[in-house]
Point group: C2
Chain length 223, copies 2
């Protein structure tokens, strides 16, 4: 078991090697290897275990009623999946989890997490805190994106997004972490239409930009 690796995952962050050793035992940890395209967890069944990707990566796959499917998410090495289902007893998985490539998964029984509290109380608490933080971060990420996608017009979505970025940077001048394609996907619009709208906004004097460097003009306040 590669404890150094685990220490640097968000889930075990701040927990020492010996403590992780204890925890793994406590959580009925089990490792399992999957080949590319193997189904790791299947929609429709509940799970008390979360999965931590030790190597490779996995896809979250939605299956529609009429047979087609779609990749909805992607979980990289070091990150976890199914934590939402493990936290809600009897909640069935809505998506399949499928190996995107050959991978090793560490399963941890989260039912054990809150019940057992014999000796490792401090580590337990740290682990739970980490889990809460992970969940909270995902929530924030989803909420803010939802916020930006709520308006129907591309311009409004852009203004919502850029406004948030300006606030986050506490400046009307800032850089964004996306290229055009990524920004378009994030906002759920077409890339070329996005580029087009950015041009118009610049013509209209709302913003100034070059590549991923943006400035919100004062005039943006008047519309």
């Amino acid at each position: 078991m590669n404890y150094f690796f685990l220490q640097n995952t968000p889930l075990f962050h701040g927990i020492r090697e010996e403590e992780i050793r204890d925890l793994l035992n406590c959580l009925d940890a089990r490792e399992q290897h999957f080949k590319k395209d193997e189904v790791i967890l299947r929609a429709g069944s509940p799970t008390a275990e979360i999965g931590l990707v030790e190597s490779g990566s996995v896809n979250i796959v939605v299956n529609f009623y009429w047979g087609t499917s779609n990749i909805f998410g992607h979980v990289e090495k070091g990150l976890i999946f199914a934590e939402n289902y493990a936290a809600i007893p009897q909640q069935e998985l809505l998506c399949d989890v499928v190996a995107a490539e050959d991978c090793d998964i560490l399963f941890l029984n989260m039912g054990r997490m809150s019940t057992t509290c014999s000796k490792n109380c401090t580590f337990h608490n740290r682990l739970i805190q980490n889990l809460l933080r992970i969940s909270a971060k995902k929530n924030l990420g989803l909420s803010t994106r939802m916020m930006h996608i709520a308006p129907k017009a591309i311009r409004d979505r852009l203004l919502s997004y850029l406004s948030e970025q300006a606030m986050k940077n506490e400046s009307s001048h800032f850089q964004i972490p996306f290229d055009r394609q990524q920004l378009a996907e994030y906002l759920g619009v077409d890339r070329s239409a996005l580029s087009n709208e950015l041009s118009k906004m610049q013509k209209d004097g709302l913003i100034t930009y070059h590549k991923n460097e943006f400035t919100l003009n004062e005039r943006a306040k008047y519309e």
Copy 2:
């Protein structure tokens, strides 16, 4: 303090009155009254406390860079807010929390939750479990909605949503919990356009419906 009320909130669910009493003490609980339109928490500042709405209700309000604002969410009596921020130290609030009407808020210091573990260990665990479940449920709700909004065409969004409902009910015949207006808002489309698309889908033989009662036809599988 109305313990009966608290016992029936998602946060304190499954915890007995005496235990709640201890917990409140442990979490530095404090009650505060707010008048309509008073700002309860302000965007830009971090918080270690979550808020539980004891009476009235609050709005989550987004403030844009150029001064306009928008109601993004609503928290009813018995539910909590700011739990995502309290779980992430130093994370600043992205939205204001404003009293939608006169209300009483119970603030709970979540920093204390994971550190203190003197005697009430079992209650603490139950509380944390509840918090994790609340967070997980919100996550699932946001994720599934995201999933349904991902397609650009109204028909595809509807099929995605109806497909999920069919799976959840394990039947191609089911009722949905929305009226047309609510469904349109949930899917982020225009109501009349939604009605129109439903008609077309019925004409095309994909679905059959009457009011909020739907049936997915077999033919839905062939497109």
